[in-house]
C-alpha cells in the first residue's frame, strides 16, 4: 500500500527530514543521511571569503544525494533578513523551497509569529514554497495558511533541546483542527520514541538534526529514527486503541480453571 507524503505537489516515501549540521565529520553526515533514507535535507548559507575556502566535501556530498534541498533562514531576526536570505538561497540552491525561520527570542530560539507571517506573505507572493518553522499556536498556524503556506512545521520543543513533544494538547489541537494540512514536527525531537509518538498522533513527518548528529553513533541513530518514523506512521494508519482508566483483562475470563473449586471451597 502506498502511503506517500505530499508537500507542495511533490511526493516522498520517507517521512523523516534531516538536517546536515553538527556531525563529527562530512563523511559521517553523508553516511547518516543515507541511513536515515531521508529525501529532504536542510542546509543553510553563511558568509564566506575566498581566502577561507573551506573543505568542499560537504557541498559535494549534498549534490550527490539528489535529495530535495530545503534551505533555511536560520538566525534571521527580521522578516527583511529572512526574505533576502531566501532569495540568495533560491539562486544558489536552485529551489523555491524555503524553511522559513524568523527568530523572536535568542534564549529559546522561539519563532517570532508576527515576523514569520509577514515574511511568509511576501515570499509566497514571490513564488516561494514556504515551510515555516512555527510555534504550536493554532491562530498563528491559521494566519500562515491564510497567507499561502501549504505546509506548516510547528516545534515539538525548542531547537536542540531534545525534549520531545512538550505541549501535546496544543499539538493535538493543531492536528485535529487542521486535518488536511501537512504538518511536520520540526525541532525538539531527541529520541526515536518521540518521533514515533508524533507520527502516531497523525503528524505527517518529523524534521530533526541534533538527535542524530549528536548521538554517540549518528549512523545507527539515523537508522533508528528511520524505523521509528515508519513504525509511528503504520501505527497511525492502523488506528490506535482508545485509552481506558480501568483494567480490562486481555485473556478470556470464561472457563477459567479452578474457579468452581475455589467457589465450592468457600461454601464449605
Amino acid at each position: 500500500m502506498s502511503d506517500l507524503l505530499t508537500l507542495y505537489g511533490k511526493t516522498f516515501s520517507s517521512r523523516l527530514l534531516v538536517g546536515t549540521a553538527l556531525y563529527p565529520s562530512p563523511a559521517i553526515m553523508r553516511q547518516s543521511v543515507q541511513a536515515s533514507a531521508s529525501e529532504i535535507i536542510t542546509l543553510s548559507l553563511r558568509r564566506q571569503n575566498p581566502a577561507q575556502q573551506r573543505d568542499n566535501s560537504f557541498w559535494n556530498y549534498i549534490r550527490e544525494f539528489g535529495c530535495q534541498l530545503l534551505p533555511n533562514t536560520a538566525g534571521c531576526k527580521s522578516s527583511r533578513e529572512a526574505i533576502e536570505l531566501a532569495k540568495m538561497s533560491q539562486e544558489i540552491f536552485q529551489t523555491d523551497w524555503i524553511k522559513l525561520e524568523v527568530i523572536g527570542d535568542d534564549y529559546n530560539l522561539q519563532p517570532d509569529p508576527f515576523g514569520l507571517v509577514e515574511a511568509a506573505r511576501e515570499l509566497v507572493q514571490l513564488g516561494f514554497k514556504v515551510l515555516p518553522y512555527c510555534t504550536d499556536d493554532l491562530v498563528l498556524c491559521r494566519k500562515l495558511l491564510d497567507v499561502g503556506c501549504e505546509v506548516l512545521m510547528p516545534w515539538g520543543a525548542p531547537i536542540g533541546t531534545g525534549q520531545g513533544l512538550l505541549n501535546k494538547y496544543n499539538l493535538q489541537t493543531l492536528r485535529d483542527r487542521l486535518s488536511d494540512v501537512p504538518l511536520i514536527i520540526d525541532a525538539g525531537i531527541g529520541a526515536p520514541s518521540q518521533a514515533t509518538e508524533a507520527l502516531e498522533m497523525g503528524f505527517d513527518a518529523v524534521l530533526l538534526n541534533t538527535a542524530i548528529a549528536k548521538a554517540q553513533d549518528p549512523v545507527r541513530m539515523a537508522q533508528a529514527f528511520k524505523l521509528a518514523v515508519e513504525s509511528g506512521r503504520i501505527a497511525f494508519n492502523s488506528g490506535l486503541m482508545l485509552r481506558r482508566q480501568t483494567a480490562s483483562p486481555s485473556t478470556p475470563t470464561l472457563d477459567m480453571p479452578f474457579w468452581q473449586q475455589a467457589e465450592s471451597m468457600l461454601q464449605e
Binding site: 538536517g19 546536515t20 549540521a21 553538527l22 556531525y23 553526515m29 536542510t42 542546509l43 543553510s44 548559507l45 553563511r46 558568509r47 564566506q48 571569503n49 575566498p50 581566502a51 560537504f58 557541498w59 549534498i62 534551505p71 533555511n72 536560520a74 527583511r80 533578513e81 533576502e84 536570505l85 532569495k87 540568495m88 538561497s89 539562486e91 544558489i92 540552491f93 531547537i159 538534526n209 541534533t210
Partner: protein, 66 residues
C-alpha cells in the same frame, strides 16, 4: 573609498561594478550569492550594480544547517 565586505572594511581606489569587485576579490563559480546593503542582488545584475563608498556587501556560500 571604503566598503564593508562580510563585516570587514576594504579600501577601494574608486567606485567599481560589483562584477569587477567580485573578480578582484577572487570569487568564482556559482556557489555564492550576494546582497548589497541588505538587499539580494541577482547574478544577472552584477555587471549593472555600482559599488559606492560606504556600501556593505554580504557574500554567502552553502553551509550545513538544521
Amino acid at each position: 573609498m571604503q566598503v564593508l565586505i562580510n563585516g570587514e572594511t576594504h579600501s577601494l581606489e574608486f567606485s567599481i561594478k560589483l562584477a569587477a569587485l567580485l573578480l578582484e576579490l577572487g570569487y568564482c563559480g556559482e556557489t555564492f550569492a550576494v546582497a548589497v546593503n541588505g538587499s539580494f542582488v541577482a547574478r544577472s545584475e552584477y555587471g549593472n550594480t555600482q559599488i559606492n563608498n560606504g556600501d556593505s556587501l554580504d557574500i554567502v556560500a552553502p553551509v550545513v544547517g538544521g
